[in-house]
Symmetry: C2
């Protein structure tokens, strides 16, 4: 990992956020192969699975098996999403190395996603964060619908701040601002980061961007170049979607984000061609085309773009 001020850390969320909404059941062996291949791409963190109830997300009912099956590569952090204390216990038993918890900026989404108000969901997270910290695991707190809510529309940044502050007060190491349905834009990114970074330093802020309308790359570049954000979620091939955000597309594609950041002078350790190669472990099970630009360019016989010699 580089200490350079332009170095970016990536959290590959393909195995969890990428797969959770897939209608086809992905075999556990394919998920394990996916994580193992991703472990060798150079990404810093992998969100391996989620310890939510299999009733809610049947695709990820095999979280324990996946954690048990993967080969851990030194230097890679294997993360798990957990909704509550029960999920945390499962994650701890499975050997998760970092915990992702989540709430939302808007009440309607919070109720649909967690069956709780924002305040209730924060109360539910408090003992989770405490216990994870007792176990010396770092915790990242996600704020869903931080830019726009599929039910309530655009979200005033002022509504996001108390949620960020509450998560910070609990002791989470990182805050992730999530563009759940892909409606963020450069002006919306600026408006939110202007306010959040007045309270939280940029090295503690992650962005989780979906690419429903094609603005995810532009949003990431604004956050990186203008605000010093150095941590991004992304999914190989742009896999993903959200069961509670109708129509939302996948996460920003890891390989395209790497290309974009490097083209602007960022240092990114992960190798985009390896990310596309890792994707092949799950592609046969998806039954739909992959949306990333680089995966298409490679399929057309175009090489991965070499780094701009200007940097």
């Amino acid at each position: 990992m580089s200490d350079s001020p332009v170095a970016v850390r990536l959290t590959e969320v393909g195995p969890r956020d990428g797969l959770q909404n897939e209608p086809e059941t992905i075999p556990t062996a394919a998920k394990i192969a996916f994580v193992n291949a991703l472990s060798r791409t150079g990404v810093e963190e992998i969100e391996v699975s989620s310890f939510v109830s299999p009733k809610w997300v049947p695709q990820l009912a095999d979280a324990e098996e996946v954690f048990r099956g993967i080969e851990r590569v030194p230097g890679v952090t294997y993360c798990a999403l957990v909704p509550n204390e029960k999920g945390l216990e499962r994650a701890l038993a499975a050997g998760a190395e970092k915990i992702h918890v989540f709430t939302a900026a808007t009440e309607t989404f919070s109720r649909k996603n967690t069956n709780a108000s924002v305040r209730e969901s924060l109360a539910r997270l408090r003992p989770v964060v405490r216990r994870a910290r007792e176990e010396r695991l770092p915790v990242r707190g996600y704020v869903s619908t931080a830019f726009h809510c599929p039910y309530e529309g655009f979200v005033d940044p002022e509504r996001v701040l108390p949620v960020v502050e509450e998560l910070g007060a609990m002791g989470v190491e990182e805050i992730s601002l999530a563009d759940t349905d892909g409606r963020a834009s450069p002006p919306r990114v600026r408006a939110l980061l202007d306010r959040v970074l007045a309270r939280v330093p940029p090295e503690r802020v992650n962005l989780h961007l979906h690419d429903t309308y094609g603005l995810a790359i532009a949003n990431a570049l604004v956050a990186w170049a203008e605000y010093g954000i150095r941590s991004f979620d992304a999914s190989a091939g742009g896999l993903g979607g959200c069961p509670f955000a109708p129509g939302a597309a996948g996460n920003v594609a890891t390989e395209d984000l790497i290309h974009a950041l490097r083209a602007c002078g960022a240092e990114v350790a992960a190798d985009p061609a390896r990310v596309v190669a890792a994707l092949q472990t799950v592609i046969p099970h998806l039954k739909r085309p992959v949306a990333s630009r680089l995966s298409r360019a490679l399929a057309r016989g175009c090489g991965p773009a070499p780094t701009d010699p200007a940097f």
Copy 2:
């Protein structure tokens, strides 16, 4: 058309640049239906076809028929690409209302694309531009490989300037800087526009961006927000590619560019949902999925994003 300083003019190049590289022959009737549907989307200009030799681009051998078959909507400018005087005479006879001529910033691409050096291609264009102006037709001069050449790599902006100046001296109204293989990036856009806009005012500059690596939207936003560029090419559905730029993807998708520009506060007359609808005239003939984000979002049952109330 708005006189607002944030209003953008779009040239829809789907029927020409979008279709020219398609391996399947598109029936003339489908092309005519495509142009007619695009005429009702609100785009300001449509590049209808190209009067190049059918030997070189067999897909566009029906340029005369397409021009004859379309219904012209007042307020829309119907453009034609022409390579030489013979092509211009055909375009004039067909009733083209604006002429697009092209050269390149790099020698290798120029030779592959036009079988002439850059200097020779400029000499070939001089009488074309003169004659078009005698006919009182506006002319736009394209500089291919203005950012990167598939054969020569990244292009020093200093190499682009003499080509821009030569085109200007011929009397073209507009210069289009073309990212032929989609390797431009925000820093490359800034480096080129810093120099070009020292010589040509922004209202005379158009950007023609391909989306091979997913940076086209970010590049367009930088040009719009930071440099006052108000004219962009785009193709419905992101159709396109270049026969002489191996692996290059299509143009930036019109509907995604409209969403991105509006999300940043630009005024764009064209309706993105109508652009996606217009695309249906040619989709059955393409035999491949369409790459645009908005067309996918609509297919998933997601509505076109309403304008951000912040603007």
